[in-house]
Amino acid sequence: MTTRDIVFAAVGVVTALSALLSVTTKHVVHAALWLLVSLGSLAGAYLVLGQELVGLVQLLVYVGAIVVLVLFALMLTRAPIGPHAEIDTPWWQRVAGAVLGGATTALLASLLLPLFSGVSVDLDTPTTTTPQVAQAIFGTWVWPFELLSVLLLVALIGAFAVSRLVLRRDADERAPVPAAAATGDRG
């Protein structure tokens, strides 16, 4: 066990425990807040692994934007404050979910642990530094990177269109009486 191993183990325990709490807590808002703790400590795990750029982007995008979006969605859907048993599926489905989750963990661990066992990296002389990552993004990966900006634009327009479509339909529903009376029975 080296120092980085110990630090990573500490950060990883925080990540796993808060992730577990975020999927098991009965408080709706607490789930989002535990997700925030989990994603933030995962950013710390990236820092320990020597990828400071990925860690900072994780903080900016996940902790700064996605968790805030989730909290906004919870507020807009009038999430109940306080413990609420109605947010969970029935107990037998939760047991099945636990079995499946445990099976996923066991499968991935049995596949990945032999692959990475015994591999130790000296991160004090890292193989991929931030300048190298930047050069790779704007060199080799520049076209996927540009495509991603188009994807973000499409997602933005798509989210807007989905909410607008229903808004217009609701407006049609509210004042259809004169039109329906004029055209008569539509069958």
């Binding site: 990573f8 990883g12 990540t15 796993a16 992730a19 999927v23 098991t24 709706v28 789930a31 989002a32 997700l35 994603l39 995962l42 795990a45 020597g50 990828q51 750029l53 990925v54 994780q58 995008v61 996940y62 996605i66 979006l69 989730v70 969605a73 807009l76 859907t77 999430a79 947010i87 969970d88 599926t89 489905q93 979910g97 636990a98 996923t104 963990t105 991935l108 661990a109 990945l112 642990l113 990475f116 066992s117 591999v119 990296v121 193989t127 991929t128 190298q132 990552v133 790779a136 990966w141 990177f145 991603l148 994807l151 997602a155 798509g158 989210a159 989905v162 909410s163 339909r169 259809p176």
Partner: protein, 110 residues
Amino acid sequence: MIHLSLPAALAALLAGIGVYGVLARRNAVLVLIGVELVLNAANLLLVTAGSRPGTQLSAGPVLTLFVITIAAAEITVALAIILVMFRKAGHIDLTAVPDLTDDPADEGVS
């Protein structure tokens, strides 16, 4: 020095917790939280694999950044759909019996 089996174990654990979160929740936003955990397990695995010696093109960190961007796009559209569902149905319970009655407003659109 760091042993890469620790991050690999954490990625496996996070993926399992995320799968449980997807299956054990009825609230649609909380199902999304489970999906986010699975995505983060994939990210951690990418970073771990990218820090192995001899990887080319900085593929690990670059693909992690790409996955983070795609996750942001995904959650934007997903939350828009959830808000529309809340406005139409009045709840975001994914196990509720769907309302299949004929909606006269649908005929005018299509």
